[in-house]
Protein backbone atom coordinates (compact mmCIF):
# COMPACT_ATOMS: atom_id res chain seq x y z
CA UNK A 1 0.00 0.00 0.00
CA UNK A 2 2.81 2.27 0.87
CA UNK A 3 0.62 5.17 1.65
CA UNK A 4 -1.19 5.07 -1.67
CA UNK A 5 -4.95 4.78 -1.73
CA UNK A 6 -5.30 5.60 1.97
CA UNK A 7 -8.91 6.41 2.67
CA UNK A 8 -10.22 8.71 5.35
CA UNK A 9 -12.17 5.75 6.68
CA UNK A 10 -9.00 3.76 7.27
CA UNK A 11 -7.33 6.68 9.07
CA UNK A 12 -10.42 7.13 11.26
CA UNK A 13 -10.47 3.41 12.06
CA UNK A 14 -6.76 3.39 13.01
CA UNK A 15 -7.16 6.56 15.11
CA UNK A 16 -10.23 5.21 16.93
CA UNK A 17 -8.62 1.83 17.56
CA UNK A 18 -5.42 3.48 18.84
CA UNK A 19 -7.34 5.65 21.31
CA UNK A 20 -9.35 2.71 22.63
CA UNK A 21 -6.31 0.43 22.95
CA UNK A 22 -4.11 3.03 24.69
CA UNK A 23 -6.81 3.93 27.25
CA UNK A 24 -7.75 0.28 27.78
CA UNK A 25 -4.04 -0.44 28.27
CA UNK A 26 -3.51 2.39 30.77
CA UNK A 27 -6.75 1.93 32.70
CA UNK A 28 -7.34 -1.82 32.74
CA UNK A 29 -4.62 -4.06 31.31
CA UNK A 30 -1.80 -2.41 33.29
CA UNK A 31 -3.67 -3.23 36.50
CA UNK A 32 -3.69 -6.98 35.84
CA UNK A 33 -0.23 -8.52 36.24
CA UNK A 34 0.43 -11.86 34.54
CA UNK A 35 3.56 -13.76 35.72
CA UNK A 36 4.69 -10.54 37.44
CA UNK A 37 4.52 -8.38 34.29
CA UNK A 38 1.70 -6.63 32.47
CA UNK A 39 0.56 -7.20 28.92
CA UNK A 40 1.50 -4.29 26.62
CA UNK A 41 -1.00 -4.03 23.79
CA UNK A 42 0.48 -0.95 22.12
CA UNK A 43 3.48 -2.61 20.32
CA UNK A 44 1.11 -5.34 19.12
CA UNK A 45 -1.29 -2.73 17.74
CA UNK A 46 1.49 -0.90 15.90
CA UNK A 47 2.96 -4.14 14.51
CA UNK A 48 -0.40 -5.39 13.24
CA UNK A 49 -1.33 -2.05 11.67
CA UNK A 50 2.02 -2.18 9.84
CA UNK A 51 1.44 -5.79 8.83
CA UNK A 52 -2.01 -4.97 7.43
CA UNK A 53 -1.45 -1.52 5.94
CA UNK A 54 2.22 -1.35 4.93
CA UNK A 55 5.35 0.49 6.02
CA UNK A 56 4.28 4.13 5.62
CA UNK A 57 1.01 3.78 7.51
CA UNK A 58 2.79 1.49 10.00
CA UNK A 59 5.43 4.15 10.70
CA UNK A 60 2.91 7.02 10.95
CA UNK A 61 0.56 5.08 13.22
CA UNK A 62 3.58 3.95 15.29
CA UNK A 63 4.59 7.57 15.79
CA UNK A 64 1.03 8.60 16.71
CA UNK A 65 0.44 5.69 19.12
CA UNK A 66 3.84 6.33 20.73
CA UNK A 67 3.03 10.00 21.20
CA UNK A 68 -0.34 9.10 22.72
CA UNK A 69 1.29 6.62 25.11
CA UNK A 70 3.92 9.19 26.18
CA UNK A 71 1.25 11.85 26.72
CA UNK A 72 -1.24 9.62 28.51
CA UNK A 73 1.32 8.00 30.80
CA UNK A 74 3.43 11.14 31.34
CA UNK A 75 6.63 9.55 30.05
CA UNK A 76 9.60 11.09 28.22
CA UNK A 77 7.97 12.60 25.14
CA UNK A 78 9.29 11.22 21.83
CA UNK A 79 10.87 8.05 23.18
CA UNK A 80 7.99 5.65 22.61
CA UNK A 81 7.22 7.45 19.32
CA UNK A 82 10.72 6.72 18.05
CA UNK A 83 10.58 3.05 19.07
CA UNK A 84 7.08 2.47 17.68
CA UNK A 85 7.86 4.31 14.41
CA UNK A 86 10.63 1.79 13.74
CA UNK A 87 8.46 -1.17 14.81
CA UNK A 88 5.55 -0.08 12.59
CA UNK A 89 7.86 0.58 9.63
CA UNK A 90 9.63 -2.79 9.79
CA UNK A 91 6.40 -4.73 10.21
CA UNK A 92 5.07 -2.89 7.16
CA UNK A 93 8.23 -3.73 5.21
CA UNK A 94 7.81 -7.38 6.16
CA UNK A 95 4.39 -7.32 4.56
CA UNK A 96 5.64 -5.52 1.44
CA UNK A 97 8.64 -7.79 0.91
CA UNK A 98 7.39 -11.20 2.07
CA UNK A 99 3.62 -10.89 2.61
CA UNK A 100 3.65 -13.81 5.07
CA UNK A 101 0.40 -15.79 5.13
CA UNK A 102 1.15 -18.53 7.67
CA UNK A 103 -1.29 -18.89 10.55
CA UNK A 104 1.50 -18.29 13.06
CA UNK A 105 2.64 -15.03 11.44
CA UNK A 106 0.76 -12.74 13.89
CA UNK A 107 2.23 -14.70 16.79
CA UNK A 108 5.80 -14.36 15.52
CA UNK A 109 5.37 -10.75 14.44
CA UNK A 110 3.78 -9.88 17.81
CA UNK A 111 6.63 -11.54 19.73
CA UNK A 112 9.27 -9.94 17.51
CA UNK A 113 7.70 -6.49 17.70
CA UNK A 114 7.39 -6.64 21.51
CA UNK A 115 10.96 -7.91 21.90
CA UNK A 116 12.31 -5.19 19.58
CA UNK A 117 10.26 -2.48 21.31
CA UNK A 118 11.37 -3.57 24.81
CA UNK A 119 15.05 -3.91 23.88
CA UNK A 120 15.25 -0.62 21.94
CA UNK A 121 13.29 1.16 24.70
CA UNK A 122 15.68 -0.22 27.34
CA UNK A 123 18.73 0.83 25.32
CA UNK A 124 17.30 4.33 24.89
CA UNK A 125 16.60 4.58 28.63
CA UNK A 126 20.19 3.57 29.37
CA UNK A 127 21.43 6.17 26.89
CA UNK A 128 19.29 8.80 28.62
CA UNK A 129 21.04 8.00 31.88
CA UNK A 130 18.56 5.95 33.90
CA UNK A 131 20.39 4.51 36.88
CA UNK A 132 19.88 0.77 36.39
CA UNK A 133 22.29 -2.01 35.46
CA UNK A 134 21.64 -4.72 32.90
CA UNK A 135 20.35 -7.09 35.54
CA UNK A 136 18.72 -10.50 35.54
CA UNK A 137 15.53 -8.79 36.66
CA UNK A 138 15.52 -6.59 33.56
CA UNK A 139 16.14 -9.58 31.28
CA UNK A 140 13.42 -11.53 33.10
CA UNK A 141 10.99 -8.64 32.60
CA UNK A 142 11.80 -8.48 28.89
CA UNK A 143 11.46 -12.25 28.38
CA UNK A 144 8.19 -12.43 30.36
CA UNK A 145 6.91 -9.32 28.58
CA UNK A 146 7.50 -10.97 25.21
CA UNK A 147 5.89 -14.19 26.45
CA UNK A 148 2.65 -12.58 27.70
CA UNK A 149 2.40 -10.40 24.59
CA UNK A 150 2.78 -13.52 22.44
CA UNK A 151 -0.12 -15.11 24.32
CA UNK A 152 -2.43 -12.20 23.49
CA UNK A 153 -1.03 -11.65 19.98
CA UNK A 154 -3.60 -13.83 18.18
CA UNK A 155 -6.75 -12.28 19.73
CA UNK A 156 -5.22 -8.84 19.22
CA UNK A 157 -4.53 -9.68 15.56
CA UNK A 158 -8.14 -10.80 15.08
CA UNK A 159 -9.38 -7.56 16.68
CA UNK A 160 -7.11 -5.25 14.64
CA UNK A 161 -7.84 -7.13 11.41
CA UNK A 162 -11.59 -7.04 12.00
CA UNK A 163 -11.51 -3.32 12.76
CA UNK A 164 -9.36 -2.35 9.77
CA UNK A 165 -10.31 -4.85 7.08
CA UNK A 166 -13.32 -2.83 5.93
CA UNK A 167 -11.16 0.25 5.36
CA UNK A 168 -8.35 -1.50 3.47
CA UNK A 169 -8.27 -1.12 -0.30
CA UNK A 170 -8.42 -4.36 -2.29
CA UNK A 171 -4.95 -5.87 -2.61
CA UNK A 172 -4.33 -7.40 -6.08
CA UNK A 173 -1.91 -9.99 -4.67
CA UNK A 174 -4.49 -11.24 -2.17
CA UNK A 175 -7.22 -11.30 -4.83
CA UNK A 176 -4.99 -13.42 -7.06
CA UNK A 177 -4.20 -15.81 -4.20
CA UNK A 178 -7.89 -16.22 -3.33
CA UNK A 179 -8.63 -17.03 -6.95
CA UNK A 180 -5.95 -19.77 -7.03
CA UNK A 181 -7.30 -21.43 -3.93
CA UNK A 182 -10.90 -21.42 -5.18
CA UNK A 183 -9.66 -23.18 -8.35
CA UNK A 184 -9.65 -22.72 -12.09
CA UNK A 185 -7.88 -19.40 -12.47
CA UNK A 186 -4.28 -20.31 -11.69
CA UNK A 187 -1.88 -19.70 -14.60
CA UNK A 188 -0.53 -23.21 -13.93
CA UNK A 189 -3.92 -24.82 -14.49
CA UNK A 190 -4.31 -23.00 -17.79
CA UNK A 191 -1.11 -24.46 -19.26
Amino acid sequence: MGGQGVSGGLIARIAGLSLVVVFFQAGVVSEVPVFGVTVDLSPLLVAFVGLLCGSTIGAVSGFAVGLLVDLALVQTLGLTSLVFTLVGYWCGRLRELRDPQAALTPLLVGAGATAAALVVYSLMEFMLGVDAPVSLELLRQIVLGVLVDTIVALPMWVLVRRCLIGGLPEDPRRRRRRAYTTGGLSPLSRT
Binding site: G27, E31, P33, D40, L71, L73, V74, E125, S135, Q141
Partner: protein
Protein backbone atom coordinates in the same frame (compact mmCIF):
# COMPACT_ATOMS: atom_id res chain seq x y z
CA UNK B 1 7.02 5.34 -10.23
CA UNK B 2 8.69 2.70 -8.05
CA UNK B 3 11.56 5.05 -7.19
CA UNK B 4 9.10 7.75 -6.25
CA UNK B 5 7.25 5.39 -3.89
CA UNK B 6 10.51 4.23 -2.29
CA UNK B 7 11.74 7.82 -1.90
CA UNK B 8 8.46 8.89 -0.32
CA UNK B 9 8.45 5.93 2.06
CA UNK B 10 12.00 6.65 3.21
CA UNK B 11 11.28 10.37 3.51
CA UNK B 12 8.29 9.68 5.78
CA UNK B 13 10.38 7.37 7.97
CA UNK B 14 13.24 9.88 8.18
CA UNK B 15 10.81 12.71 9.00
CA UNK B 16 9.15 10.74 11.81
CA UNK B 17 12.48 9.65 13.31
CA UNK B 18 13.82 13.22 13.22
CA UNK B 19 10.57 14.50 14.73
CA UNK B 20 10.83 11.95 17.56
CA UNK B 21 14.44 12.91 18.22
CA UNK B 22 13.56 16.62 18.30
CA UNK B 23 10.73 15.92 20.76
CA UNK B 24 13.00 13.75 22.88
CA UNK B 25 15.81 16.31 22.98
CA UNK B 26 13.47 19.23 23.69
CA UNK B 27 11.58 17.34 26.41
CA UNK B 28 14.73 16.08 28.08
CA UNK B 29 16.38 19.48 27.99
CA UNK B 30 13.56 21.63 29.34
CA UNK B 31 12.56 22.24 32.96
CA UNK B 32 9.43 20.67 34.44
CA UNK B 33 7.57 23.93 33.81
CA UNK B 34 8.54 23.96 30.11
CA UNK B 35 6.24 24.02 27.09
CA UNK B 36 6.20 20.27 26.36
CA UNK B 37 5.59 19.46 30.04
CA UNK B 38 2.69 21.95 29.94
CA UNK B 39 1.26 20.15 26.90
CA UNK B 40 1.52 16.88 28.83
CA UNK B 41 -0.25 18.45 31.83
CA UNK B 42 -2.95 19.83 29.52
CA UNK B 43 -3.42 16.41 27.94
CA UNK B 44 -3.69 14.87 31.41
CA UNK B 45 -6.37 17.43 32.31
CA UNK B 46 -8.37 16.57 29.19
CA UNK B 47 -8.08 12.78 29.37
CA UNK B 48 -8.37 12.35 33.16
CA UNK B 49 -12.21 12.50 33.18
CA UNK B 50 -12.33 10.11 30.20
CA UNK B 51 -9.86 7.75 31.88
CA UNK B 52 -11.84 8.00 35.10
CA UNK B 53 -15.08 7.08 33.31
CA UNK B 54 -13.45 4.23 31.40
CA UNK B 55 -11.81 3.02 34.59
CA UNK B 56 -15.15 2.88 36.43
CA UNK B 57 -16.92 1.24 33.50
CA UNK B 58 -14.25 -1.41 33.08
CA UNK B 59 -13.72 -2.09 36.79
CA UNK B 60 -15.77 -5.32 36.71
CA UNK B 61 -13.51 -6.68 33.96
CA UNK B 62 -10.40 -5.80 35.93
CA UNK B 63 -11.86 -7.24 39.12
CA UNK B 64 -12.69 -10.49 37.35
CA UNK B 65 -9.09 -10.94 36.18
CA UNK B 66 -7.75 -9.81 39.53
CA UNK B 67 -9.99 -12.22 41.43
CA UNK B 68 -8.14 -15.35 40.25
CA UNK B 69 -4.72 -14.02 41.21
CA UNK B 70 -5.97 -12.57 44.49
CA UNK B 71 -7.60 -15.85 45.54
CA UNK B 72 -4.41 -17.84 45.04
CA UNK B 73 -2.38 -15.17 46.80
CA UNK B 74 -4.84 -14.91 49.70
CA UNK B 75 -4.75 -18.65 50.40
CA UNK B 76 -0.98 -18.69 50.69
CA UNK B 77 -1.02 -15.61 52.92
CA UNK B 78 -3.74 -16.82 55.27
CA UNK B 79 -1.66 -19.12 57.48
CA UNK B 80 1.21 -16.67 57.60
CA UNK B 81 -1.08 -13.82 58.66
CA UNK B 82 -2.68 -15.86 61.43
CA UNK B 83 0.73 -16.38 63.03
CA UNK B 84 1.55 -12.72 62.60
CA UNK B 85 -1.75 -11.72 64.19
CA UNK B 86 -1.06 -13.71 67.34
CA UNK B 87 2.38 -12.10 67.70
CA UNK B 88 1.02 -8.63 67.05
CA UNK B 89 -1.75 -8.97 69.64
CA UNK B 90 0.88 -9.49 72.33
CA UNK B 91 2.87 -6.54 71.02
CA UNK B 92 -0.14 -4.21 70.94
CA UNK B 93 -0.79 -4.68 74.64
CA UNK B 94 2.80 -3.79 75.46
CA UNK B 95 2.72 -0.86 73.03
CA UNK B 96 -0.37 0.65 74.70
CA UNK B 97 1.41 0.95 78.00
CA UNK B 98 4.52 2.45 76.35
CA UNK B 99 2.44 4.88 74.34
CA UNK B 100 0.72 6.28 77.40
CA UNK B 101 4.06 6.96 79.09
CA UNK B 102 5.42 8.43 75.86
CA UNK B 103 2.57 10.92 75.48
CA UNK B 104 2.88 11.94 79.11
CA UNK B 105 6.58 12.64 78.62
CA UNK B 106 6.01 14.55 75.37
CA UNK B 107 3.46 16.83 77.02
CA UNK B 108 5.69 17.28 80.03
CA UNK B 109 8.62 18.50 77.91
CA UNK B 110 6.47 20.38 75.32
CA UNK B 111 7.55 18.13 72.45
CA UNK B 112 4.03 17.20 71.34
CA UNK B 113 4.10 19.34 68.20
CA UNK B 114 5.30 16.62 65.82
CA UNK B 115 3.59 16.37 62.50
CA UNK B 116 1.17 13.50 62.01
CA UNK B 117 -1.28 12.36 59.36
CA UNK B 118 -4.05 14.15 61.28
CA UNK B 119 -2.42 17.51 60.40
CA UNK B 120 -3.06 16.88 56.69
CA UNK B 121 -6.27 17.05 54.69
CA UNK B 122 -6.55 13.62 53.04
CA UNK B 123 -7.95 13.63 49.50
CA UNK B 124 -9.23 10.22 48.43
CA UNK B 125 -8.44 9.45 44.78
CA UNK B 126 -8.92 6.58 42.37
CA UNK B 127 -6.04 5.24 40.28
CA UNK B 128 -7.08 5.62 36.65
CA UNK B 129 -3.85 4.82 34.80
CA UNK B 130 -0.61 3.00 35.27
CA UNK B 131 2.62 2.73 33.27
CA UNK B 132 2.99 -0.73 31.73
CA UNK B 133 6.80 -0.89 31.77
CA UNK B 134 9.44 -1.25 34.45
CA UNK B 135 11.16 2.04 33.66
CA UNK B 136 8.46 4.25 35.16
CA UNK B 137 6.85 3.36 38.47
CA UNK B 138 4.09 5.92 38.19
CA UNK B 139 0.29 5.94 38.35
CA UNK B 140 -2.28 8.52 37.33
CA UNK B 141 -5.02 9.50 39.80
CA UNK B 142 -8.31 11.29 39.20
CA UNK B 143 -7.76 14.20 41.63
CA UNK B 144 -5.72 17.29 40.86
CA UNK B 145 -5.19 20.89 41.88
CA UNK B 146 -8.95 21.54 41.86
CA UNK B 147 -9.22 19.11 44.81
CA UNK B 148 -6.27 20.70 46.60
CA UNK B 149 -3.62 18.25 45.41
CA UNK B 150 -0.17 19.77 44.92
CA UNK B 151 3.19 18.57 43.68
CA UNK B 152 5.17 16.75 46.43
CA UNK B 153 2.08 15.81 48.47
CA UNK B 154 2.61 12.39 50.11
CA UNK B 155 0.37 9.56 48.87
CA UNK B 156 -0.65 6.62 51.07
CA UNK B 157 -3.14 3.75 51.08
CA UNK B 158 -4.47 1.50 53.83
CA UNK B 159 -1.27 -0.59 53.74
CA UNK B 160 1.37 2.12 53.91
CA UNK B 161 3.33 4.71 51.94
CA UNK B 162 2.67 4.66 48.18
CA UNK B 163 4.68 7.64 46.85
CA UNK B 164 4.34 11.33 46.17
CA UNK B 165 2.65 13.59 43.63
CA UNK B 166 5.13 14.60 40.90
CA UNK B 167 2.81 16.34 38.45
CA UNK B 168 -0.54 17.97 39.18
CA UNK B 169 -3.07 19.07 36.56
CA UNK B 170 -6.49 20.49 37.43
CA UNK B 171 -8.42 17.18 37.32
CA UNK B 172 -5.68 14.58 37.55
CA UNK B 173 -2.20 14.00 38.90
CA UNK B 174 0.76 11.75 38.36
CA UNK B 175 2.08 9.88 41.39
CA UNK B 176 5.64 8.51 41.48
CA UNK B 177 5.63 5.30 43.49
CA UNK B 178 8.30 4.62 46.14
CA UNK B 179 9.81 2.10 43.68
CA UNK B 180 10.43 4.82 41.06
CA UNK B 181 14.11 5.49 40.38
CA UNK B 182 13.65 9.19 41.19
CA UNK B 183 12.39 8.54 44.73
CA UNK B 184 14.16 8.69 48.10
CA UNK B 185 12.33 8.63 51.43
CA UNK B 186 13.90 9.36 54.78
CA UNK B 187 13.09 6.42 57.05
CA UNK B 188 13.94 4.55 60.21
CA UNK B 189 13.60 0.98 61.40
CA UNK B 190 11.02 0.17 64.10
CA UNK B 191 12.75 0.48 67.43
CA UNK B 192 15.94 2.18 66.21
CA UNK B 193 16.47 5.95 66.12
CA UNK B 194 19.01 5.77 63.25
CA UNK B 195 17.77 7.30 60.01
CA UNK B 196 18.47 6.21 56.44
CA UNK B 197 17.13 6.76 52.94
CA UNK B 198 14.76 4.28 51.31
CA UNK B 199 15.41 4.03 47.58
CA UNK B 200 14.45 1.52 44.87
CA UNK B 201 16.84 -1.39 44.65
CA UNK B 202 18.98 -0.97 41.55
CA UNK B 203 18.23 -3.83 39.19
CA UNK B 204 15.09 -4.89 41.06
CA UNK B 205 12.54 -2.12 40.72
CA UNK B 206 9.94 -3.90 42.86
CA UNK B 207 12.10 -3.94 45.97
CA UNK B 208 13.55 -1.23 48.20
CA UNK B 209 16.87 -0.57 49.89
CA UNK B 210 17.25 1.36 53.15
CA UNK B 211 20.70 2.90 52.79
CA UNK B 212 23.12 5.08 54.76
CA UNK B 213 22.19 3.62 58.13
CA UNK B 214 25.08 4.07 60.59
CA UNK B 215 27.16 0.90 60.93
CA UNK B 216 26.09 -1.30 63.82
CA UNK B 217 22.44 -0.32 63.72
CA UNK B 218 20.54 -3.23 65.23
CA UNK B 219 18.30 -4.66 62.51
CA UNK B 220 16.14 -7.74 62.69
CA UNK B 221 14.54 -9.47 59.73
CA UNK B 222 10.79 -8.82 59.72
CA UNK B 223 11.03 -5.41 61.47
CA UNK B 224 8.92 -2.62 60.01
CA UNK B 225 10.40 0.47 58.34
CA UNK B 226 8.60 3.81 58.86
CA UNK B 227 8.96 7.34 57.51
CA UNK B 228 11.20 9.32 59.83
CA UNK B 229 9.42 12.67 59.40
CA UNK B 230 12.52 14.34 57.97
CA UNK B 231 13.41 15.38 54.43
CA UNK B 232 16.60 14.64 52.54
CA UNK B 233 16.71 17.63 50.18
CA UNK B 234 14.71 20.85 49.61
CA UNK B 235 12.71 19.38 46.72
CA UNK B 236 11.63 16.34 48.74
CA UNK B 237 8.18 15.60 50.04
CA UNK B 238 7.54 16.12 53.72
CA UNK B 239 6.19 12.70 54.69
CA UNK B 240 4.64 12.72 58.15
CA UNK B 241 6.44 10.58 60.69
CA UNK B 242 5.38 6.98 61.27
CA UNK B 243 3.87 5.94 57.94
CA UNK B 244 4.78 2.27 57.40
CA UNK B 245 6.90 1.73 54.26
CA UNK B 246 7.94 -1.90 54.32
CA UNK B 247 9.38 -4.86 56.15
CA UNK B 248 13.07 -5.80 56.48
CA UNK B 249 13.96 -8.87 54.42
CA UNK B 250 17.77 -8.97 54.78
CA UNK B 251 20.76 -6.88 55.90
CA UNK B 252 24.03 -6.10 54.09
CA UNK B 253 26.80 -4.90 56.43
CA UNK B 254 29.74 -5.03 54.02
CA UNK B 255 30.18 -1.29 53.51
CA UNK B 256 30.75 1.47 56.09
CA UNK B 257 27.05 2.24 55.98
CA UNK B 258 24.54 -0.50 56.56
CA UNK B 259 22.10 -1.40 53.77
CA UNK B 260 18.83 -3.10 54.50
CA UNK B 261 16.60 -4.80 51.93
CA UNK B 262 13.00 -3.75 52.42
CA UNK B 263 9.88 -5.22 50.86
CA UNK B 264 7.17 -2.56 50.40
CA UNK B 265 4.03 -3.11 52.48
CA UNK B 266 1.70 -1.45 49.97
CA UNK B 267 0.80 -3.70 47.05
CA UNK B 268 1.97 -1.27 44.38
CA UNK B 269 0.90 -3.52 41.53
CA UNK B 270 -2.76 -3.46 42.48
CA UNK B 271 -3.43 0.10 43.54
CA UNK B 272 -7.06 1.09 43.30
CA UNK B 273 -7.85 3.79 45.86
CA UNK B 274 -5.21 6.03 47.45
CA UNK B 275 -5.15 9.06 49.74
CA UNK B 276 -3.20 12.20 48.95
CA UNK B 277 -2.12 14.01 52.09
CA UNK B 278 -2.64 17.58 50.99
CA UNK B 279 -1.77 20.47 53.23
CA UNK B 280 -4.26 23.32 53.61
CA UNK B 281 -2.80 26.82 53.17
CA UNK B 282 -1.43 28.11 56.47
CA UNK B 283 -1.47 24.68 58.12
CA UNK B 284 1.55 23.29 59.93
CA UNK B 285 2.58 20.93 57.08
CA UNK B 286 2.31 23.78 54.54
CA UNK B 287 4.44 26.04 56.72
CA UNK B 288 7.07 23.34 57.21
CA UNK B 289 7.13 22.50 53.49
CA UNK B 290 7.65 26.17 52.69
CA UNK B 291 10.42 26.37 55.27
CA UNK B 292 12.20 23.29 53.87
CA UNK B 293 11.96 24.42 50.24
CA UNK B 294 13.42 27.81 51.18
CA UNK B 295 16.71 26.15 52.17
CA UNK B 296 19.40 26.38 49.49
CA UNK B 297 19.64 23.24 47.37
CA UNK B 298 22.95 21.45 47.84
CA UNK B 299 22.83 18.81 45.12
CA UNK B 300 21.18 15.57 46.14
CA UNK B 301 22.14 14.79 49.69
CA UNK B 302 19.91 11.75 49.61
CA UNK B 303 22.37 9.97 47.38
CA UNK B 304 25.59 11.71 48.22
CA UNK B 305 25.80 12.27 51.92
CA UNK B 306 22.99 10.20 53.32
CA UNK B 307 21.78 11.10 56.77
CA UNK B 308 24.15 14.03 57.02
CA UNK B 309 22.22 15.75 54.29
CA UNK B 310 18.92 15.76 56.05
CA UNK B 311 17.78 19.28 56.41
CA UNK B 312 14.71 19.54 58.50
CA UNK B 313 12.71 17.53 60.91
CA UNK B 314 8.97 17.68 61.08
CA UNK B 315 9.33 17.50 64.79
CA UNK B 316 10.92 20.90 64.86
CA UNK B 317 7.61 22.63 64.09
Amino acid sequence: MYDKTVRRRRAVLALLVVLSLILLTAYFGEASGGRLHSVQRGFLTVVSPIQDGANKALKPVRDLFGWFGDTLHAKSQNAQLRKQLAALRREVVAEHVDQQSYHQLLTMFHLDNQLSIADYRPVTATVVGKTPNIWYATVTIDKGTSAGVQVNDPVINDEGLVGKVTLAASDGSQVSLITDSSMGVSARIGSSTATGIVQPKVGDPNDLLLQYLPGGTATVKGEYVYTSGTVASPDDSLYPRGIPIGQVTSVDEESAYESVNVHPLANLRNLDVVQVLSAAAGSQPARLSGLVSSFPAGGHPSTETGTAGQLASTGAG
